[in-house]
Symmetry: C2
Subunit: 149 residues, 2 copies
DNA sequence: AATTTTATTGAGAATGAATCTCAACTGCAT
DNA sequence: ATGCAGTTGAGATTCATTCTCAATAAAATT
């Protein structure tokens, strides 16, 4: 969270955008956070310390954070977009339990290799993977088996 | 589109649901269609012949079609859920061009094998894959190169 | 340091996909 | 044909996200 701020500042400058207080606050909040977050959670987190940052600004800032490589869109859950920061957090595959909502993250380098090959065949240049599978986690699968008896 | 109707009828019966006229109309429309569709497109398509089927009914029917294995949720594009029918349409990987919106479909058996291994490690039982990658298609990549000169 | 330019903000209104409500209707078992 | 349950269309509602706009703040210029 030092490098990031420098990079962010550079990104903003390159786009003729200003490094404003809300933008700094939001950036900092992103890196306090580990794991996934949606706009509402981020808003509440920020509001604890900064009563004057609006939801609209968060919504407006998210695309900048994505474009500058600070965060990525990770999933969509319960009709909400979910993000995660990229720094020290390699892209990964998500297993989403449709029963309990648990999200399991798995590194996916081999999977990505396969996908890259397919993309190359199509002349497609990937900038972002969005890989998930839905189903039942270990626990929920066990429960299901029990209830079937 | 014969087998399907039988299967659908069976599914409905097993759930104590009724095979109503709108449900038949919607099912038929699904199979007229190839490729992807969203609720609005489906609605317009149906409306050409059946002025009395409501959007609400389509929204209500989609989960049934998914549960009975007729269609799957495929993507999310322009803030809309997109579906495709499963019959004779194996699951596949989507490459989505962020510039022109083109969607390229690729079979993904090898990718799925890798993912299945990862899932097995976690004791996770997959019921549905949701695999996509965003980036630039061949054409848009070329355009970009030109405009950079 | 003051001024000018330009981007940004918060608040609340607007949008739009998806869901819900409810009284009228229909499929289907008897 | 009758009755019960599930279903429908129409429109209201929800809720995430986007937009509007007058007030404000950051950077550039003097
Ligand atoms: Mn993740
Ligand atoms: Mn497809
Ligand atoms: Zn679970
Ligand atoms: Zn393209």
């Amino acid at each position: 969270m030092k490098n990031e701020k420098v990079l962010y500042r550079e990104y903003l400058k390159s786009k003729n955008l200003k490094l404003t207080k809300p933008r700094c606050v939001i950036l900092a909040a992103i890196f306090e956070n580990h794991g996934h977050f949606n706009v509402d959670e981020l808003y509440e987190q920020i509001r604890e310390k900064h009563k004057n940052v609006s939801r609209a600004t968060i919504y407006r800032t998210i695309p900048l954070l994505i474009e500058s490589g600070m965060i990525r869109q990770s999933l969509r859950c319960e009709s909400k977009d979910i993000y995660e920061h990229t720094y020290g957090n390699e892209n990964h595959l998500h297993f989403i339990c449709t029963n309990c909502g648990k999200i399991i993250e798995t590194s996916f380098s081999k999977v990505a290799d396969q996908i890259d090959k397919l993309a190359k065949n199509e002349g497609f240049e990937i900038t972002e993977y969005s890989l998930a599978a839905r189903g039942l986690c270990k626990k929920c699968k066990k429960k299901e088996l029990k209830s079937e008896k």
